[in-house]
Structures are given as structure tokens and as C-alpha cells.
Symmetry: C2
Subunit: 240 residues, 2 copies
Amino acid sequence: MAAGRLFLSAKNAAALDVELMSSGGFSLDQLMELAGLSCAQAVYKAYPPESKNKVLVIAGPGNNGGDGLVAARHLKLFGYEPTVYYPKRPNKDIYNRLFIQLQNLKVPFTEDFESALTSTDQVLDAIFGFSFHPPIRPPFDSVISVLANCSKPIVSVDLPSSWDVDAGPPAEGQLGHGFVPDVLISLTAPKPAAKFFVGEGKRHFLGGRFISKQVAEKWGFELPQYPGVDQIVELPVEQE
Amino acid sequence: MAAGRLFLSAKNAAALDVELMSSGGFSLDQLMELAGLSCAQAVYKAYPPESKNKVLVIAGPGNNGGDGLVAARHLKLFGYEPTVYYPKRPNKDIYNRLFIQLQNLKVPFTEDFESALTSTDQVLDAIFGFSFHPPIRPPFDSVISVLANCSKPIVSVDLPSSWDVDAGPPAEGQLGHGFVPDVLISLTAPKPAAKFFVGEGKRHFLGGRFISKQVAEKWGFELPQYPGVDQIVELPVEQE
């Protein structure tokens, strides 16, 4: 396979998002709904609900956080017990509505990240996505430090939070160094940083089943075959 | 089971829709995306794609038609070959965008309903939903007449088109008399007319997995357990 063929750079991911919502005819509500649903399905595939698994959803201030809020709703409906840590809440209509939807489903929001982490079975990292740029502001700096040293299973949405979209994981001494989730759900297409997501037992899913072959060809990434009605498809992970 | 407990009247279905989009925090885009996805999943469950099954999607002028447009997109992505007959297209932003999404996926639109019907494997009836009131205007009057005498498998979205939401199928001599689809997908909750959807081999699904237990209780319908990550759950059908 030609190096780079499979990956969507930060610049192209942003441009494709703009295209999907202009000439593509999609609304943010639609794309976020399908993205969040695929994240919930990836959690289900990797950690099937045994007895109301607790999932701590960490939602960032942007669209990655929005995907996490949608995923939390579907996880609740799938039989999980999600708790949401959502410390920065921009006053934007779509996030406000996603918040209300979760409140109506009695999904708890917590302000005590560390306690919630202690009692959870899994973590959904929906802090930062493809538009991430350092520095990492509080309280997410300490959240990332804790996650980097945490033994709970972590599922990252689109990118491991703190990783550079194109360059990959932070260097030694930088915040987030050593943070490698157990599961990664790339949305629309894997970003270049996904090349560094390797290791035994790691699982990588692709979600966001709304891309046509023509769009994938135009933007230079491959579109794998999704099985059945699934909104996710599993991708191979190098063993290291 | 108490008679009426399971069904959502036309009046209550309309009121619940208003509630979902006000205090419920949902947008029409979200609800239509999940409803249309569940319709596509019902088609998949009832008629798994063997070799690019052709599905003729008949989309009406309102939100039932919008659900059909969303379903057509997912069916295309699931490996079907949908063709859409959409003769009345109100100039409303959401329908315009759903139309563009299908065009970008190269889903054909036809103006020749009868030819498309002849060559299709299945039909998705997304003409009228719970806000239907007679009379049936052209060209849907002749479409309904043809469907009532058609041997192709038909999947109806929310209600068999021409049926009264509360009273059920049209009486003898009335347009639509004798029209009984093979599969019915009730959205959110079955409507009273679904009581008349009976017979050997008929399949009934419920779709629209966004209702909380509290909402179902408030509006007096039962919420069955959806399996796994499915957006549909199959309901029993009386053999007649």
C-alpha cells in the first residue's frame, strides 16, 4: 500500500467537513448523530454490556465532545450506564440540545472526574478531535495526565486526545506522552496519527458511514466495506 | 394487555413529535436520520441484499417522505440499488439537502413510477405518515391503486399509505382498499391502525430508538427491548 494513501491530514479533514456540509448537503446534526452512533457501536463491539457497564464519557468543548454526547445517549439506550464529564460547555445550540437529550434520559453529569474514573468500567475519550492544537488548557491538561497513567480501558474518538493529528503522539516530556488508548474510532477516515496506534490487543474501528466512493477517491483515502447494517468497520492494527 | 395501551393516536403522535423537538431537545434532522436508518435496517432484516436488490423508494411530500429519502441513502450504503420516485418536492431545506445527499451517491430519481415498479425487487412506501388526511391527491391516488394490486414485496414506513392513522384500512370502494404491505415499520410507537396489520408472514418492526422509558410511560405506550445496537425491534403479528 502506498504510504499516506489511507490517511486524511488535519487540513484535508477540515476541508472535507466543510464540503460535506456545503455541497454534500449534510447538516452538523446529521453528521454528529451518525458519528456518535458509530462511537457507541465501537464501545459495544469492544466492551459488550455485561451488567450495565459504567462508561465515563469525557466530552471536550468542540465537535469531538459533541460526538461523545451523542455516543453517551446511544450507550444509555444500549443498556450501559454512562456518566458524562463535560467541564467546558460552549453555549452553542447543538451542544445545548444534546445536553438536554441526556438529561431527559437521566444520564448523570459529574464534576468530579477522578471519582468517576475510579468507579467506571470503561472511558470514552471525546476531548479533542482533528482540529486540536496545543496548548491543552485546564482542566483537560490534568485529565490527560491522569488518563496517561490509568489502567481502565479507554476508547478514543477520532484521535487519542493530546496527539497531533498529523505527527502523532507527544514526545517524551510533553503532556500526553505515554497516553495510548485501547481502542481508536477513526471518524470518516483515519488521520495520519493513527499510524502510531499499534500494539497487541489494540482495536481500531472506522465510523461515519456517509462517505461515497467518489468522495473517498477525491480525498485520497480508501473506503473499506462495512459489514451488514453496521455503522463501524474494524481495521487491522499492527502488532508493533 | 389493556386495549389501546400499545398504540399512539394520530393526535398524540403529533403532540409527541412537538415535545421531542421542544423540551426533548431533538432536531428534525436527528429524528429523521434515526427514523430513516431504522427503516433501512428493517428492509435489510426482511429482505437481506442478495445481489444488489433494487428497492423502489416512493417518497411523499412530508416527513414520511423525508424518512424514505434518509432510508434510500442508507440502503445504498448497505449495498442495495435504490431508485427514488419523489414527484412532489416541497422547497424545504431538509428535503433539499436529503435530495442532494442522494444525488451525490448517484442514487437515481425516476419520473416513471410504473416502469420502476416493474423492475424493482422491493418497494419502500414512504408516502404518508401519521399526519395523513384524505383526499389522496394525484399522482399518489394512482400510485396507491397500483400498489394495492401489486405482487412486489412492500415495506411501509410508519403506516400503510392511505390507511387512516386511528381507524385503519379504507373501506370497500375507497381508494386504498385491499392495500396491505408485507412489512410495517412503526416509528416511535405503533399507531392504532397497526392493529389491522395482521396475517401470515407479515412482519412488523418498531424503529426510532430515541425514546426514554419516562416518555413512553407518559404517552401510554410500551417500549420493547431493542436487541444489541439495532435501531429496530421486531414485534409480534397476529396470524389473523
